[in-house]
């Protein structure tokens, strides 16, 4: 009898390990809570400020999305403020898509070289180079763009040299390492036995890469490109230094233009909190935030589709 009581006592007493377990749960849960709170707060803040343009200042959403002139301090002939964000939205998308289109073949080519053709050199030379490129601050890229790319564009195509083309060139270099290293991960996740199976069937290495490995890695490669696009879409400083910052519809790739981010960085210091000018900028920020959510959604969708295959 006594031994049963003792055993019951031992079993019911909370040991030190059990108490630590609770502590562990509390700590990790509160970390999670903090992050969720921060994210919700940011979205809430940007949304409340950004939506104020439409609810407090009564700008119509359609005018905001389709208007072509951006000058929030000025009212037009009908007495409406000029808050047309279309030039910036177009600028952002153009520069993002163009830089992604140029960067993708280079990134995948580099990744194939690093992972398939010459893994040794890839690991010794290209990997550190790629990592270095990621680490260079964007202001440095912008500065190089300003002093090299812009003059070259000016000489080749005339005009001021500032514009979408220069922005694309700078962003291409900036997103290249991101897309490359994620493409390498995608290729690395293709099982080794796919390569063996293909080679054993008499396929050449190039046929193996082209017909088997790249096909199998497609979801991962697409994720890499979308990540690069998300980065290009959100990049502010370097773009702002080379794009010319004219809030106009770009007539050609070498006309000065602007993006959502570049207008935000140039304008945010010159407005008063609560004014229409300030709220309009928050609306741009809201568009940026929504776009990054959409990019995230796309990445998740691709990931899910890849798993289903």
């Amino acid at each position: 009898m006594k031994s049963t009581e003792q055993l019951e006592q031992q079993l019911k007493r909370h040991s030190k390990a059990a108490k630590l377990e609770i502590w562990g749960k509390v700590v990790s849960f509160s970390a999670l809570l903090l992050i969720v709170a921060v994210v919700v707060a940011i979205i809430g803040f940007v949304a409340s400020k950004g939506l104020a343009t439409f609810f407090t200042n009564h700008v119509s959403l359609w005018d905001f999305l389709s208007g072509k002139s951006w000058n929030p301090g000025v009212t037009d002939a009908h007495g409406k403020p000029e808050v047309g964000a279309l030039p910036m939205i177009v600028g952002s998308f153009l520069i993002t898509i163009l830089s992604a289109i140029i960067a993708t073949p280079f990134a995948i080519g580099t990744a194939v070289f690093m992972n398939e053709i010459s893994p040794n050199k890839g690991a010794k030379i290209l990997q550190p180079v790629t990592e270095l490129l990621v680490g260079i601050p964007s202001v440095v890229y912008g500065f190089i763009g300003l002093s090299v790319v812009v003059p070259v564009t000016r000489t080749l195509f005339g005009g001021s040299g500032f514009g979408i083309l220069s922005g694309t060139c700078v962003l291409f270099v900036m997103i290249l390492p991101t897309v490359t290293s994620m493409s390498v991960d995608a290729l690395r996740s293709v099982p080794r036995y796919y390569r063996e199976a293909s080679l054993a069937l008499g396929a050449t290495q190039w046929q193996t890469i082209y017909k088997v490995i790249l096909r199998a890695a497609t979801p991962g490669l697409m994720t890499a490109v979308v990540f690069g696009m998300a980065r290009a879409f959100g990049e502010a400083l370097a773009v702002q230094m080379v794009i010319g910052n004219a809030a106009l519809m770009p007539g050609s790739l070498v006309d000065p233009a602007s993006t959502l981010t570049s207008v935000l960085t140039t304008g945010i210091g010159n407005t008063v909190m609560g004014s229409l000018q300030n709220n309009a900028l928050w609306s741009l920020a809201l568009v940026l935030l929504l776009m990054s959510l959409i990019f995230n959604l796309i990445i998740r969708l691709i990931g899910r589709k890849g798993r289903l295959q």
Partner: protein, 274 residues
């Protein structure tokens, strides 16, 4: 006197490691001469000299790490970028271990099936048509025909004939391995190398696979690496015993199992180690 002779015979065989399949109906199709394989500086195979008979099944047995898989992978030069292989691999009188050999053309004649079933993430049909399309076969009719005969030869046709467009990844382990065999024989090779093809399969699938192999030897010369002694006994005509990178013994399977010349082979086939 007799004893002495016996010992001399054993020593001679140990030095040469060669057994010539004596059957004139099944001439040698593939042989290795003074084959050495090195991983970096480490020697994985020393003096693997074997001759393989056509339209027969030859089993390579031996404990883990004995080099039997390395040896097999060297035969169709799958070790090219991984290891250094020296010596001759004679295929129908031509040394295929030479730099001027087109390995891709050679691998079409010396096909390989791996330990783990490795179908591509494509449809059943596309898996088999893969190598044919790479070789420029585009005629739908011709492809259909080869896909069907290959699947029939691999004894998979009846199970999948209505779902050729389904993903090959949905197949069971045994079916997937048979698909890999069908894929390998679709290009009509001479020799089929199998690297422990049944080690990931359950007993029923294994027995079906063995039946398939016995059927296939009518048309192909088969070399199979196996961990499974009974399997070697059931299906192979010849058996080579590998230990520590060397071929210790090579003879008809019945000889290896009933009358092994080397003690270590005897221990292995009777299950005392390995």
């Amino acid at each position: 006197m007799f004893l002495n002779n016996d010992v001399t015979a054993k020593t001679a065989m140990l030095e040469r490691h060669i057994v010539q399949p004596a059957d004139p109906e099944h001439p040698t199709i593939l042989s290795t001469e003074d084959l050495h394989v090195y991983y970096g500086k480490k020697e994985a195979i020393a003096e693997g000299d074997l001759r393989f008979a056509s339209n027969q099944i030859t089993a390579l047995i031996g404990p883990s790490g004995s080099g039997k898989s390395t040896f097999l992978r060297s035969l169709n030069r799958m070790n090219d970028r991984i290891a250094t292989v020296t010596g001759k691999i004679m295929y129908r009188g031509i040394d295929i271990n030479q730099p001027d050999i087109d390995v891709y053309e050679m691998r079409r004649r010396v096909g390989m099936v791996f330990q783990r079933p490795n179908p591509f993430a494509k449809s059943i049909y596309d898996n088999i048509a893969f190598a044919l399309r790479l070789r420029g076969v585009t005629d739908k009719h011709e492809l259909d025909e080869i896909v069907e005969t290959s699947l029939k030869q691999a004894a998979l046709w009846n199970q999948v004939k209505d779902e050729l467009n389904k993903s090959a990844l949905a197949l069971s382990g045994g079916q997937a391995q048979r698909l890999c065999i069908a894929r390998a024989i679709a290009v009509k090779p001479d020799i089929l190398l199998l690297d422990e093809p049944a080690s990931a399969l359950d007993p029923v699938s294994t027995s079906q696979l063995e039946d398939t192999l016995l059927e296939l030897k009518q048309q192909y010369s088969i070399i199979i690496v196996t961990h499974n002694m009974q399997q070697a006994g059931r299906i192979s005509e010849y058996t080579a015993f590998f230990n520590q990178g060397r071929v210790l013994e090579y003879d008809t399977t019945s000889h290896i199992f009933t009358n092994p010349q080397v003690q270590i082979t005897s221990d292995y086939v009777s299950g005392n180690f390995g």
